[in-house]
């Protein structure tokens, strides 16, 4: 494919105003699928979670998952939406091999949630309110794997394989109104908006919200209009944008690409584009055309929903503190500077630090361990930091350090033991014999031996050259295999040097 021309970003913004829109799909973490009792699991063997309903076989009859409705309403409420008094499902008809029924069960003119908004804060402190047009329910498609061909992509594949385990998993699609006035912040608005949705869904517990597992997926709509014009430009919809960084890059790329096309006198085709993470480019999919004539009609196999106002209010009471408010509260309570706090947020360790503090640790110690040693070990192991050790275990470890039982160095060894499954920090200290030697007896013996072994050093210390004590401290720490408090050793070395015969 020919590489597209890109205009310099600043120049593109000088000539054109970007208009954005986002569709974010949030996969719900219900135990079962949207319309059947098959398990909703990531990573099962191919086609092990299917039944006549989600395979679209004759005789299959959908039944609505109550928990999915509840999760959708809670998500809608957290996005400030109205919950429709009457709502129904509709069939979106199209042929594509990942959709076994040959239609997607979705919602058309009666979405369950509508007219909400969220306010996001950019790094500059700029607040942007994103209006939500609707949040509707639908079922997910199966997973395609494209085989053969040069690139492993859909273009040029010899054939494709389908796993329908994901087919029928409940989704909520959140659709924004047009976002105008984004200006230079357009890419960051995209990233921050998707991050906010992800955080809200995670905070509600309605989704696992892992972008890398496809729980949160974003389609980014971008159009440009020339400065001074009121007429909207033709938009493109970039699909497959599945990380926060990609959202930012894809929006920036489309602005630069469309600006180059328009500036050269060309026109933008209204089309679906595919984002390629590896090359950082988008490429054209099918143009919007007859293929998008979906012939929506009300789903005859499912009855309408009319969630009672009492139920909606009950669900409203279950909403957690909004993530943005929670972040502000925690940062103030912990007294972290912005960099420290961002480090915790960006590492996805807010919950872990909060739970560790709740278990009795100081906020700074909890932050230091989670974003330092534990994050390092997790990185080596290729897993998430909060899967290695529990907040309660870490709080116990921090307590041992603060009580003087462990030095930081020993505590890292204890941490390794805890991660290796050797028990609680205290058990690891006992079984590995790692506690700091706080009984002065063995220390004094080791110090005396070191001082008598280095008479020249002893003489220097007695002459008042205190810095010479370093050599003795080193020898003692070595003799104690690190299990001594260096500050206490120093004190004792100076004391013994004065009195030793």
């Amino acid at each position: 494919m020919a590489s597209a021309e890109l205009m310099d970003y600043d120049k593109a913004l000088e000539l054109f105003e970007p208009v954005l829109g986002f569709e974010v799909h949030v996969e719900l973490n219900t135990k079962t699928k949207m319309f059947c009792g098959c398990a909703n699991e990531f990573g099962s063997g191919a086609n092990t979670n299917t039944c006549p309903t989600c395979l679209g076989l004759p005789g299959g009859l959908p039944q609505v998952n109550k928990k999915a409705i509840e999760s959708s309403i809670r998500l809608g409420l957290a996005l400030g939406c109205e919950i429709a008094e009457h709502s129904r499902f509709a069939r979106k008809n199209y042929f594509y091999p990942d959709t076994a029924k040959n239609f997607q069960t979705s919602q058309y003119d009666d979405p369950i949630c509508h007219d909400g908004s969220i306010t996001i804060e950019l790094e500059s402190g700029r607040l942007v309110t994103v209006e939500i047009e609707r949040a509707h329910m639908e079922d997910d498609a199966g997973k395609l794997t494209h085989m053969g061909g040069a690139t492993g992509r859909i273009q040029g594949a010899d054939y494709s394989l389908v796993d329908y385990n994901r087919g029928g998993v409940p989704l909520v699609e959140i659709v924004t109104q047009m976002i105008e006035g984004a200006e230079h912040d357009a890419p960051e608005i995209g990233k921050t908006y998707v991050a906010a949705i992800r955080e809200i869904a995670k905070g509600l517990g309605v989704s696992n919200a892992r972008m890398e597992e496809g729980n949160v997926r974003c389609d980014a709509n971008v159009s440009l209009r020339p400065r001074g014009s009121n007429v909207l430009g033709t938009r493109t919809e970039t699909k497959n944008v599945n990380s926060l960084r990609s959202v930012e890059r894809a929006v920036r790329y489309e602005i630069q690409r469309q600006a180059a096309v328009l500036h050269a006198g060309g026109t933008i085709t209204q089309e679906t584009r595919h984002w390629h993470e590896d090359t950082g480019r988008t490429s054209a999919g099918r143009p919007k055309s007859d293929a998008d004539d979906y012939r929506y009609f009300p789903e005859p196999d499912l009855l309408p929903m009319a969630p009672s106002r009492e139920w909606v209010e009950e669900l409203r009471l279950t909403l957690p503190e909004p993530p943005a408010a929670r972040r502000k509260r925690l940062q103030a309570a912990w007294g972290f500077v912005n960099l420290e706090f961002q480090d915790v947020v960006n590492s996805d360790l807010l919950d872990a630090v909060e739970a560790t503090v709740a278990a009795g640790a100081s906020a700074q110690a909890a932050r230091k361990w989670w974003t330092g040693e534990i994050a390092r070990l997790a990185n080596v192991a290729g897993v998430a930091a909060d899967t290695l050790v529990t907040p309660v275990q870490l709080a116990a470890l921090i307590e041992l350090v603060e009580a003087g039982t462990l030095t930081d160095r020993l505590a890292r060894q204890v941490l390794e033991g805890v991660i290796a499954g050797e028990g609680t920090p205290t058990q690891v200290v006992d079984s590995r014999g790692l506690a700091v030697v706080s009984d002065d007896g063995p220390l004094v013996a080791a110090i005396d031996a070191a001082l008598l072994g280095q008479p020249d050093v002893l003489a220097k210390i007695r002459d008042g050259k205190v810095q010479a004590a370093g050599a003795v401290i080193g020898a003692v720490m070595k003799a104690m295999r690190g299990q001594a408090d260096a500050a206490r050793v120093r004190e004792l070395v100076l004391e013994r040097a004065a009195t030793i015969e």
Partner: protein
């Protein structure tokens, strides 16, 4: 008089992936036209404040609990597939090389 044209029927048949003969298209244009005319008669009676009816039964909120029930075995799931590769359905190429 019906608003349905043969072109529309051809288009619908394409969207539904149904291969129709010229005779079938002629007949269906006529039949669908009659159906549209009949429904138009209902619209004459329905006033603006009559909501569109999608579900005639006065029932709402029919839900099931979120409880897992056994799925088909992989062999059962794949038993009707025209082609398979391992435990997956195998389908022809979807897009041409671009």
């Amino acid at each position: 008089m019906s608003e349905i044209t043969a072109e529309q029927v051809k288009h619908l048949a394409y969207l539904a992936r149904i291969d129709l003969s010229p005779l079938e298209i002629t007949n269906l244009t006529h039949d669908l036209g009659q159906i549209v005319d009949s429904i138009a008669k209902v619209s004459e009676v329905a006033t603006a404040d009559t909501p569109a009816t999608s579900h005639p039964m006065p029932l709402t909120n029919v839900f099931r609990e979120d409880v897992v029930v056994p799925s088909l075995t992989v062999e059962q799931a794949l038993s009707g597939a025209p082609d398979r590769a391992g435990d997956k359905f195998r389908v022809p190429a979807i897009l041409d090389e671009d």
